[in-house]
């Protein structure tokens, strides 16, 4: 199925914080419907984190992209089902890596079980040199969705997209 120009324009909107990936690659774009007869687009998006400050910008970009093609647009923001890094496309992961951000790994999952106090050792490869000899510097990085790590082989610091 080929997409209309307006649908493609919306899907290709870059994420304001990580502009190498599109909102579709990230899984933020949940639904997109074009009514050609009425020249209307309705879009559903979901935030990565509840307080993600980029949502207002993303919504404005969508409305602008639709208007540029001559379409009116309604944007609905949904919290449920909750966003997960599993929705990120393979292309999105590849682009993050090329940009120097380690893509999200396996999700730890929310456990209701007994206390887990272990600092699990996850293997996160350095996006610069590929070494898995890396360590976490900070669990909270430059945006809500990233943590900060450094590579012990090439000594470069890098962002990691947190698995959620």
């Amino acid at each position: 199925m080929t997409r209309s120009t307006v649908a493609q324009a919306i899907a290709d909107i870059p994420d304001p914080e990580v502009p190498v990936v599109t909102i579709e690659d990230l899984g933020i774009l949940r639904h997109l419907e074009v009514d050609e007869a009425a020249h209307r687009v309705s879009v559903t998006i979901t935030p990565t984190y509840s307080g993600c400050p980029a949502m207002a910008a993303i919504e404005a970009h969508i409305v602008h992209a639709a208007a540029t093609q001559g379409y009116a647009c309604t944007v609905d923001t949904r919290l449920s089902p909750a966003w997960t890094t599993d929705w990120m496309s393979e292309r999105g992961r590849q682009r993050l890596l090329e940009f120097g951000i380690a893509p999200p790994g396996q999700r730890a999952g929310v456990t209701d079980g007994p206390v887990t106090l272990t600092l699990q050792r996850r293997l996160v490869a350095c996006p610069q040199c590929g070494s898995t000899e890396t360590e976490e510097l900070a669990r909270f990085g430059s945006t809500a969705c990233k943590a900060l790590r450094r590579c012990l082989a090439c000594r470069e610091p890098f962002d990691e997209f947190k698995a959620l």
């Binding site: 509840s50 307080g51 919290l79 089902p81 909270f140």
Partner: protein, 258 residues
């Protein structure tokens, strides 16, 4: 954003407002740590945690404005209510102490929120259930962060151990209020929108006690006094100052946007 009209439900509105106010007021307090953390990474961590809480508060306050029949926006509710109209517990409004106090407070509050949001995933209010599902992932991460600091400080030096113990002891009088079955919670639990706070208590205690023990700390003794009244709008001295700081720009320049 345009919202479809929603049937008024004062019971759910009252209940959700308590949860929203807890998140909003604690977000404001956590924001004070920016430039004051023990490491720059902790400035970032607490700002991020505060941002998650602010996001939860925004979605929930928007819902309150729909359900209480007044049509007020999230901003109306955050900036133009007075102290007596806030339903948050006293724990979140207390002034910033040292980092050990903050980690004790964060451990208590995030552990409470983990149990709360887990239970609210099946709320009869679809918006509250959606926020709970989303926020649960976030508050697990907050709890994990607090846990690691409590372990590090408790099982650290003599100085850090003593201050972590003091932090837990100082927070203890504010814990009971979180698990008290206030009238709004009882009413909301009856109709399926909410849960009884008392039903969350056992799982909370198991979790927090395990962390405290592993950190080589002592469970605080039964405090000689306890906070009460937050859910009815009665607040402690720091609340007025907090609101003045949070609200003064919006009130000085009504309708201003940027």
């Amino acid at each position: 954003m345009a919202q479809a009209s929603v049937d008024a439900n004062p019971v759910a509105a009252q209940y959700i407002q308590g949860i929203a106010d807890d998140a909003l007021v604690y977000a404001q307090r956590l924001g004070e740590w920016i430039s004051r953390g023990p490491q720059i990474e902790e400035d970032m961590a607490l700002a991020n945690i505060g941002l998650d809480l602010l996001g939860q508060a925004r979605a929930l306050l928007t819902r309150v404005g729909q359900l209480d029949g007044t049509g007020r926006s999230e901003d109306d509710l955050a900036y133009f209510r007075d102290e007596r109209q806030f339903r948050n517990v006293h724990l979140v409004e207390q002034e910033r102490g040292d980092y050990a106090f903050e980690m004790a407070r964060l451990l208590v509050f995030s552990s409470y929120q983990c149990e709360l949001y887990a239970a609210l995933r099946v709320s009869s209010d679809p918006v509250l259930a959606g926020v709970a599902e989303k926020a649960l992932k976030e508050v697990h991460y907050h709890r994990d962060h607090a846990t690691q600091w409590v372990l590090r400080l408790g099982d650290g030096t003599e100085e850090s151990h003593g201050r972590m113990q003091q932090g837990l002891d100082d927070v203890a009088p504010f814990v009971a209020e979180l698990f008290e079955d206030d009238a709004a919670s009882v009413a909301a639990a009856r109709e399926g929108a909410g849960v009884l706070p008392s039903s969350l208590h056992d799982a909370y205690v198991d979790r927090v006690s395990a962390v405290i023990r592993q950190a080589t700390l002592d469970l605080p003794e039964q405090p000689r006094w306890r906070s009460r009244g937050g859910r009815d709008g009665f607040h402690s001295r720091p609340m007025g100052y907090l609101l003045a700081e949070m609200q003064h720009i919006a009130r000085s320049h009504p309708g201003a946007t940027w």
